[in-house]
């Protein structure tokens, strides 16, 4: 039996997000908009031993196939996450998340004088870029750069 199956049981159908950096699983759920109002069963394993990562987190969402476009948003904080779409206990599709070029309504601009932080009917827009292997986001409105993306999740 594989190591992670000892921690979180297999699911019959749904989405498994693996290789999340340890401690970031809750942020992954936040990005995906999964909370107490979500009907599906969500299980989470934190600090699971991993050969590649030392420790990692795993999230399983039973009965929900999350769209690839949505899942790619988690690359902002978990760039090496792998996704397994499960059907009838078997892996139907497996892929790595890809960084989106633009994210809307996920990050909050740290510049308090930015229009995106005003009372206007405006959704934050950030362009995602990679420089020297580091991910950063640039505000569409004021141009402010964010390096620690996890600190600015809405």
């Amino acid at each position: 039996m594989k190591e992670r199956e000892l921690v979180v049981s297999k699911i019959r159908e749904g989405t498994v997000i693996d290789h999340i950096p340890a401690g970031k699983a809750i942020l992954v759920l936040k990005i995906l908009g999964i909370d107490e109002r979500t009907k599906e069963t969500v299980s989470m394993a934190l600090n699971v031993p991993s050969k590649k990562m030392g420790t990692k987190d795993i999230v399983k969402v039973e009965g929900l196939f999350i769209k690839e476009e949505e899942l790619n948003k988690i690359a902002l904080i978990a760039p090496n996450a792998t996704i397994n779409l499960i059907r009838d206990y078997e892996i139907e599709k497996k892929f790595k998340v890809k960084l989106p070029e633009v994210v809307k309504g996920i990050l909050k601009c740290p510049n308090r004088m930015c229009i995106s932080n005003s009372k206007e009917p405006v959704v934050s827009i950030f362009y995602i870029k990679v420089e020297d292997n580091k991910v950063f986001a640039k505000c569409h409105y004021c141009g402010k750069r964010i390096k620690e993306l996890a600190d600015y999740l809405i």
């Binding site: 004088m113 206007e120 141009g143």
Partner: protein, 299 residues
């Protein structure tokens, strides 16, 4: 696609040069020597949520010189208009009354947001500490006219490099013209780190006395009291740089001094008569450059 002018980032080098060339053609119209009515029947709305004199008047003059009409909405009227109404709605309403909008706003990114909600072209006349692209275009025009070239010059940017939107716009444009840029400011008013990360330019922090004899252009800015939340912080740096006759005497005779105005006491009035002083000429150049911009977005 509708043309807006929001940030200098939106322009390529050839777009900038096209506007400067066009401004050159309008200079005699700006002086009242030649008549030109290419914008006859068009209406420009000046929507200023922050006080402005030079920029607003120069847009108004530019529009009128080209035969167009202007509707001015002052800071007081704009804020009362915005009472209970979002900027998005104000723009949707005003853009139905006119052919282009010039906006100045205290929030960064407001002009881009306005453009997204407008049915007519929007020109950014300053958004908080963000961008001021029309000032940059007139600065470049002045440099090209007065130094007879734009490429390969050296410039010292002096004063508030942190909050000055004029500097933030200008510095981006200067990197397109292989300019050697000296940054002269008090430490707390240094250029924000992201400019170094983002721009591939030839920057160097310097002291004024080290570079004064070398530069082609001395660009002086006002330390803006209104950008400081803490008055004590302002007092620490107010008056840090003062350009006097003695300072200018150490400059090259063919070098020029620019200032986006208004000045407080950064440049001694005695300097005004010296050959290097070009800031009032720079203010005039705002008219032909804004004529070029208006004709570009409205025609």
């Amino acid at each position: 696609m509708m043309k807006h002018l929001i940030s200098i980032d939106d322009l390529k080098k050839e777009d900038i040069l096209k506007i400067l060339d066009k401004a050159e053609e309008f200079e005699d119209v700006a002086l009242g020597i030649r008549k030109c009515k290419i914008l006859e029947g068009k209406i420009l709305a000046n929507l200023f949520f922050e006080p402005s004199t030079r920029t607003r008047i120069s847009f108004e003059t530019a529009m009128k010189r080209l035969g167009g009409e202007v509707v001015n909405v002052s800071a007081q009227e704009a804020s009362s208009m915005a009472k209970g109404e979002t900027l998005a709605d104000t723009i949707r309403v005003v853009s139905n009354y006119c052919d282009a909008i010039v906006i100045r706003h205290y929030l960064e990114g407001a002009a881009r947001f306005a453009a997204e909600n407008s049915a007519v072209p929007v020109i950014n006349a300053g958004d908080g500490a963000g961008q001021h692209p029309t000032q940059t275009l007139l600065d470049l025009y002045t440099i090209r006219k007065e130094c007879r070239k734009l490429e390969g010059l050296s410039i010292a940017l002096v004063g508030d490099l942190k909050y000055s939107r004029t500097i933030h716009s200008l510095i981006k444009a200067l990197t397109l013209f292989k300019t050697k840029i000296y940054l002269v400011s008090p430490e707390i008013l240094s250029l924000p780190e992201e400019f170094f990360e983002e721009l591939n330019g030839d920057f160097q922090k310097a002291k004024l006395e080290e570079v004064i004899g070398e530069v082609d252009v001395l660009y002086v800015t006002r330390i803006q009291k209104e950008r400081f939340l803490d008055e004590e912080e302002y007092k620490k740096v107010a008056g840090s740089y003062r350009i006097t006759v003695e300072t200018v005497e150490r400059m090259r005779s063919d070098a020029i001094i620019l200032h986006p105005l208004p000045r407080v006491d950064e440049i001694d009035v005695k300097v005004d008569k010296m050959r290097q002083a070009r800031y009032f000429k720079q203010a005039f150049y705002g008219v032909p450059v804004r004529m070029a911009i208006l004709s570009e977005v409205m025609q």
